[in-house]
Symmetry: C6
Amino acid sequence: MSILVPDNTLITATVEEGRQLAMKMARLVVKATQPDAEVREQLRAVYAKDASLLIQISLVTATEFATIAAANNYWRGGPATAQD
Amino acid sequence: MSILVPDNTLITATVEEGRQLAMKMARLVVKATQPDAEVREQLRAVYAKDASLLIQISLVTATEFATIAAANNYWRGGPATAQD
Amino acid sequence: MSILVPDNTLITATVEEGRQLAMKMARLVVKATQPDAEVREQLRAVYAKDASLLIQISLVTATEFATIAAANNYWRGGPATAQD
Amino acid sequence: MSILVPDNTLITATVEEGRQLAMKMARLVVKATQPDAEVREQLRAVYAKDASLLIQISLVTATEFATIAAANNYWRGGPATAQD
Amino acid sequence: MSILVPDNTLITATVEEGRQLAMKMARLVVKATQPDAEVREQLRAVYAKDASLLIQISLVTATEFATIAAANNYWRGGPATAQD
Amino acid sequence: MSILVPDNTLITATVEEGRQLAMKMARLVVKATQPDAEVREQLRAVYAKDASLLIQISLVTATEFATIAAANNYWRGGPATAQD
């Protein structure tokens, strides 16, 4: 199975990086489920112009981000190190 | 990728600002997924008149807001500073 | 943007008020997304007779309420004051 | 608006009562959104025979129950009193 | 109303039992909503061959399981007794 | 019923393994609901080319992962042992 979590950690230096990780991790699930890059590119043309699918993508990002934010203690007081 | 988190923080002075941040962060995911402003404007005409899509948008906002509210300790007792 | 959080607080005196706030906050997201009251009234005629949309509305309310209930410490032992 | 939370509390003596409260609170949102009992009865005939709608109802119940279970400290060690 | 929570507890000896309880509790909501076993059997023939409905069922299970796992303190260090 | 939780634990050595467990546990719910491998293979051909279903799968994974991440204390400071 392709990699699901870049760098094998949920800890990021900033909120922005945490948000990017959330989007990346969601896409990596789709990649692991549909490994064919060509098919994924065809699907991109579908969801990028579909209001409902774009909203569903933002729901997945929000759900992933909730976990990443908790892992980083909401970036309150410097990045949560692995030993926090 | 376009910015996903304005000011790179989840901490806001008030609940209202936290709620606005939730809506903004959801929209920024759509913008990062569909960078073409014209396409997004066309989609706006679709979802702004569709009961199901408007309800889905409120579900995304509720999910984002849950994370932001936790980050701000529900604004109980003054804004949660980054050192909280 | 129209107001998203009445009185700018998640703290309510009772569970019932917290539940009403959850429904109100969900509606205010729709209002901020579709400011035209006439359009919203037309949409009301749609969702108020659609089982799926009514169920989706209850999912949004449940999600909003989870945050409000946590903010109020589940109203266990008197209302959680802002200093809790 | 009709009552949203029977007895204005999330605290129940047992898990079973907490589960029943979750279902009841979800239905009371639908009632507050569609006050006409006749319409709701017609909708019941629709969702009670629709696999997707029945599954969506169980998702709402699961989401409501998560909040009620947390409010009752998962009924671990006697009912969580309001002073817990 | 039919029973919603077998043995009236969320506490299970193992993760596997907790997972089975999550699936069981979701099904019991459907049973309470549609008491007719024949109708439920007809619906089973529908959802068991529908990718979207099977995915929705796994979403409900995931949501129920989150609550049961928290109730059991994620089965870290022996089963969480009711007095935990 | 077929096994729902490989090794009967939510504890994993790494984030990547936790993510894989989330995907596996979601699939095992589908397997328990539809035991026929041939039917599941036919469904795979459907969802692997459907943008909406792929997004729904990522939502289920995100929801499962939230529970597994909490169980592992977000892998902050070595794997959370069963006695944590």
